[in-house]
Amino acid sequence: MKKSRWILTLAIGAVVAGLGIGAIAYVGSSGVEAQSPAPPATMEWMPAGASVVGHVDLTSLFNSPFREAWEQALEARGSSGELAEFRETTGLDPLNDFYRLSFAVVTSDDPSDSDSNASAPRGRPTPENWGVSIQGAFDAPSLLTKLREFADVETEDYQGTTIYYPVRRWDDAGDEDAAPVGIGDKPALAFLGSDTLVMGDRHYIRQMLDTGQGRAPSAVAALNQNWGEDTFLNDTFWISAAPEQGFGGVLPQGGQIPPIQSLAISGRLDADVALRARGLAANLDSAIKLAEVVRGFVALGSLQQGGNADIRSVLDSVQIDQFENAVELSLSVPYETLERLSAHADNPADDN
């Protein structure tokens, strides 16, 4: 009996030690929440208050098995010439010279806020401002020279940074064409050091500069506050939004589905493609209900896709977890499976 008592004591001690380490890690992880992980450099320029914020680690993306597939697709569509022309025109190789990219969109519920959105129905979220920050190997003088071949470029000095406004362009014959360059209302761009380019609406780019230079709050703080320590900021790609604003009612919202306050979709490219979608519900009860609804959809999908082994394997890899008011759906998909699914989507008849 003495021996068994020792063995039992040893086992209890091991379990207590194991749980103690976990508890210390749990307490410690709350402490390091504010310090790590460091957000991507391009996120520093994204202002707080954006409805949708996203990030893509282009280096990881272009070093993944996807690159080969894209290059083949470009070649198949005969677009490799366009890519070569872009490289020649700008001196930039999109597959090698862009490292990471962050973007933010501010939406408005009131179309009357913006004349360009007058046709949108009242109450439907419409993009109001946008901004992109790209880190890469830029040769700013050559890019500006190239830009001036196609557009008049006005400049403005804002807090020590030059903002460029391309306002007009010429057609091939050299005649003036009044159409503004780019998307939306007078986009602007600015070079920040030798490796960062920010683009966006005239007003928004000023906000971006204020944010990056520490004069205004960043979206990173809001993301950390929303999503806590288990952040996705360093995943290969992610997008985070408040659904009722950012997704314009695309997500199903109704009596059966508890409202989602924030939604984040992120992915990592490792041996497989690991995807996560996370929703924040208003409270614990809503989160439990939301998890049930998601589980129901996944189970229904599993039953309906019995014939397609790839879809079934994807659905089998789905994990749904609920922690407090957060519901997380994660899945892991091998690259080969994605390729087959992509081919199947292009040619659904092949399956029959």
């Binding site: 068994s4 976990g22 508890a23 390091v32 990592r268 690991a274 129901g296 189970a299 089998d316 994990q319």
Partner: protein, 256 residues
């Protein structure tokens, strides 16, 4: 509780610890650990993604540890609480000792619970660290509440199973067969049958407490809602307490 109960429990635990049955049960209990080791090897050989570590732990918990290992361990010990001694011819010897029948059975059931927890909990915690070790300190910490919740679900589930199988061991001549039917027949079917029948299973309440998902519980989720956490805890405690008490009452009244 009389002073005899801990004595019987300790004696029962030491007898079970060095029995051949425990050697076999140890293999069953360490199955998730072996699977976690295979996963770690696959990560080291770059055959599996490090990012899916928590997913692997979830699968091992939702598909192996809680629905299979926990009930099997409990079944193999609790079902023999009376029948083992009856078959070995030692029961009458115990009944001549100077302590009450109630103390004997409660002590033995406590010893059974101790050995089941001894075999289940350490490998389960080890499995958590093995699967998540490579994901970093922060991941270990942020997932820790899940481990605690799993352990709570497992402990309550084992308590409820222990009561049921002890009761079967006290009443039936073939309690092992009943236990196998209950786990793999009744529970498997009842959890996917519409209506309130799933409330007559232990697995429904365990799934209600688990933060993970398995295919079977997803399917069950289509048919009916989970119980709330409080309901599940109360139900498991009630099942365990009632069945243990009933087993003791029957044992004290039974003609042996």
């Amino acid at each position: 509780m009389t002073a005899r109960i801990p004595l019987v429990a300790q004696w029962s635990f030491s007898q079970l610890l060095f029995s051949p049955r425990t050697a076999g049960m140890a293999i069953l209990a360490t199955t998730p650990v072996l699977m976690a080791l295979v996963y770690r090897a696959a990560v080291a050989l770059e055959l599996a993604a490090q990012t899916s570590s928590f997913g692997v732990f979830s699968i091992l918990t939702a598909a192996v540890s809680l629905p299979f290992v926990a009930p099997m361990l409990t079944l193999f010990y609790a079902s023999g609480v009376v029948i083992d001694d009856a078959e070995a011819g030692t029961l009458h010897y115990f009944l001549t000792r100077p302590f009450a029948r109630r103390d004997l059975l409660v002590g033995k059931m406590l010893g059974n619970l101790m050995i089941v927890m001894f075999l289940f909990v350490p490998p389960f915690v080890l499995c958590y660290y093995l699967t998540l070790a490579g994901s970093g300190w922060q991941e270990l910490g942020s997932r820790f509440p899940t481990l605690v919740r799993d352990l709570m679900a497992a402990s309550l589930g084992i308590f409820a199973y222990s009561g049921l199988f002890s009761l079967a061991g006290t009443v039936l001549k073939r309690p092992l067969l009943f236990g196998l039917f209950f786990v793999f027949g009744w529970q498997a079917a009842a959890s996917i049958v519409p209506g309130a029948i799933r409330y007559l299973t232990v697995t429904h309440y365990m799934h209600s407490l688990m933060p993970h998902e398995s295919f079977q519980s997803s399917l069950a989720g289509l048919i009916g809602q989970r119980s709330s956490g409080l309901e599940a805890v109360v139900a498991l405690l009630a099942i365990g307490t009632a069945t243990h008490a009933l087993a003791v009452w029957i044992f004290t009244k039974k003609e042996l």
